[in-house]
Each structure stands twice: as C-alpha cells, then as structure tokens.
Amino acid sequence: MSKHHVTTTINGEPAEYLCEAQQTMLDVLRDELGLTGSKEGCSSGDCGACTIICDGNIVCSCLMLGVEAEGRDITTIEGIARGDELHPVQQKFLEHAALQCGFCTPGLIVAAKALLDTTLNPTEEEARYWLAGNLCRCTGYDKILRAVMDAASVMRAEAGR
C-alpha cells in the first residue's frame, strides 16, 4: 500500500506530506509535521484535545484521516497567535489562569477561537454548549469560561463594537 501524497494548507502556509491511509490527521500533524500542539486524549472524539479548524469548522483531528486534508484549509493551535502576539483567547487564558495541567488547553483555545470567529457576542450558555466537546479535568471550567467571555469583550473592543 503506497503512501498518499497530500497537498493542503496548514496555518495559512502551503503544506505537502506523505501519509498512509489509516493515519489520522492528528497522527500526521504530530508525527509527520512536528506540530505537537494538538494533543491525543481519547482518540474517539470525546475529549476535544485534538481540535483543529478544517474549512472553518472545528473537528476532532483524531476522527479525520490525514488523506482527507487534500485541498482543505487547516488551522491548528500553532496557527492561532497573530505572529509574535498572542491571540486574545490565549492572552486571557494566561491572565485568568484558565489551565492547570494544560493538556486540554490547545483544543479549548482552538475551539474558543472558532466560536469568536462565529460571534463576538456569545452568551455564557452559548459558550458552554459550544465548548461541551472539550473536556478539562482540572479547572472545573469556570476560569475557562471567564477567559473566553473576557476575550470576547476584548475582540468586541478591537472591532469597535
């Protein structure tokens, strides 16, 4: 079984790689491309630690094959910061200490960033449901929600709203 040649876009840059059909997108990111920010938690789509953005939608990269990325537009945690500056979600996670062990953090930041790409005015309830697929066993979620809501207010101010 020959390897598949995949041409795609990852974090705004053209990317090419060879992978086997059974390799997940998460396997490819971590093992072939060295992008180890996305974490393997459950490998069954339950925990959200491997969350990436694919063509504008968040998906679990453990439930996507690497070959499926052909021609897609992928964003991982490594592509969230604005150059040398942290994204407001990242900055607010730090300020609110919205992490303890940190394993869920990349997935939560990617998912929260995607929420704020959709709306800058989420209610806390909307944010809680949006993030229900990201499990955190340390924080109890309160600090995470505060960080996300605070990041939304920062981004509203940036947008002049």
């Binding site: 079984m1 598949h4 086997e20 059909a21 059974q22 390799q23 997940t24 490998s43 069954s44 789509g45 339950d46 959200g48 969350t51 694919c54 939608n57 968040i58 998906v59 679990c60 453990c62 439930l63 996507m64 094959l65 070959v67 499926e68 052909e70 998912a111 995607a114 449901y129 949006w130 993030l131 229900a132 697929g133 990201n134």
Partner: protein, 289 residues
C-alpha cells in the same frame, strides 16, 4: 490503526466501481465520526475506505420543488445553519444538532447516523416521521427507499454490499404541518438518548389532526413507527384524553432493554412522556403556520 486502502472518487459511478472492486470489506466514509472509532477499536477491519465527500452533491442542501434534497455526507453544522430547512422541519434539525459536540457537528452526517444503525440515533426519528426517501446507489443503478427501511437491527442495514446512500429527499411541509424531536438524557449535552421521540403532525384549520407520524428511538432494536400513536392523534385536538391515548400507545410500542442508561420500565415510561411533549410542540408549531 491497521493498514487500509483509501479511494476518494469524484463521481457516484466511480464510487460504485471502487466498492464493487474491493477484495475484502469496503466501508463508506462520510464524516467518519463512527467509522474511525470502529477502525481504531478493531471492531471492523476494512480492506478499503471509500471517501464520498469529493462526489459533487454529496455535501449540500438543494431546494428541489416539493423536496429538500440533502447530500448524504452533509455535516450537521450545515443543517443547523440552513434557514429554510430549520423553518420547515425544526424537529429534524433539532435531532441532528443533538449529535455529539460542536466538533462532531463539523463532520457527522445524516447518512452516517442512519447507516451506523444505532437504535438511539438522534437524527433518525424525525427524518422518518417526515416520510423521508433515501436515494441509494449501487452496482444495479439507483433505487429509492423510505428512510425506515434502512436500519434492520443494531449495526445492521438493508443496504446490499457495494450500495451507499447518495442523498435524502425530505418532502416539504404541507399547510399546518410541522414536527418536533426530543430526547431524554440524564445530563444536558454530549450523551446518547435514553429515549428519543420524533413527532410530525398535520392539522386542519380548526387544529384537528389530519395526519401524524410518531417515531420512537432507543426503545427497541430499531426506531419504531408507532401506528397506534398516530391513530390516537388523527381526528383529534390535543386535549387531555388525546394525550392520554397517545402516551398509552407509545408505551405499548416499547420493547427496550435494561442497560446503564435506563431500565425497561423507565424507558417505557419516558417514551410516553416524550410522545406527549413532542406532540404538544409539534401541534403548537403546526397551528402557528
């Protein structure tokens, strides 16, 4: 994961050929939210995966006269953001939207949910209640079947080897027709239905039910169309006597199992409750249009 071959055909005919030419088990990949879990666990060992998402029409919602035509691999997020479908069949959208997390909604499809053939599949009851037709492609060409003909038992479907679902044809609602779906879970998100119920009703101008379909999930090996529940509604307004008859009919149709999510007795009782609640919502929606 074990080694596997992969094909991403660009037409239905190519997909049919790829499925027919597989040396061992061939599996169709739409969103993959069930398939990849089964692959990793070793529950299935396919020789070939055929990704259908590169086939034109497999993703997207088309308005075709009397039907909404939904590509079989259309992810949940596209259903819940389609204003026309949401307005026409809020119950179908509610059911699909209850599947998994935001991440799962980015991939999971109606065809995957139907062909995974879990009796607890959240999108299936309201799809069946709307009298949806599925279009199936295979070596002998295309055929159509009612959605309720697909699942024949837990994990089993009526699709022949090499067949796959291309699209769903959902009839548009008639005047004073609408639907609702509710599921019961012990938490608020990210769980599998203890019981699910999709109810679709058509009323006359006076609010009397002229047609109905009540479909229960997770109370039998497949979803159940409860004919007696429809009979309890047709010819009546939604008064206490009608609700009581509906509840009784729904409970009588249950043949559930006891598992960690609920006992036989509990599931049976909840089925009656959800039948009443979905009927109340569907009647209210139907009367308002």
């Amino acid at each position: 994961m074990p080694r596997v071959n992969y094909a991403a055909p660009s037409s239905v005919d190519e997909a049919v050929k790829a499925l027919a030419g597989a040396s061992g088990l061939a599996k169709v990949l739409a969103g993959g939210t069930d398939l990849l879990v089964q692959l990793r666990s070793g529950r299935i060992k396919p020789d070939l995966i055929v990704d259908t998402k590169r086939i034109p029409g497999m993703i997207g919602i088309r308005d075709e006269g009397n039907f909404f035509v939904i590509g079989a691999a259309t992810p949940g997020v596209m259903l819940s953001s389609h204003a026309g479908l949401e307005h026409a069949w809020p119950g179908i959208v509610e059911g699909a939207d209850l599947i998994g997390s935001t991440q799962i909604q980015g991939r999971a499809s109606l065809a995957g949910n139907l062909c995974n053939a879990s009796p607890a599949a959240d999108s299936v009851p309201a799809v069946i209640a709307a009298r949806t037709i599925v279009v199936i492609a295979g070596a002998n060409g295309r055929r159509e079947a009612p959605a309720e003909a697909i699942c024949t038992g837990p994990g089993r479907t009526s699709l022949a080897t090499g067949e796959f679902i291309v699209e769903f044809k959902i009839p548009k609602p008639k005047a004073h027709q609408c639907d609702a779906y509710l599921r019961f879970i012990p938490r608020t998100e990210m769980d599998i239905a203890v019981v699910g119920c999709g109810t679709n009703v058509t009323l006359d101008a006076n609010g009397v039910c002229t047609d109905a379909r009540v479909v229960l999930g997770a109370v039998a090996p497949t979803t159940v169309i409860v004919e007696d529940a429809a009979k309890a509604l047709i010819g009546h307004k939604l008064d206490d006597a009608t609700l009581a008859a509906l509840d009784k009919a729904a409970q009588a149709a249950c043949k559930p199992i006891t598992d960690k999510r609920g006992t036989i007795e509990y599931r049976t009782k909840v089925a009656g409750v959800l039948a009443r609640r979905t009927a109340a919502i569907a009647f209210e929606r139907a009367a308002a249009r």
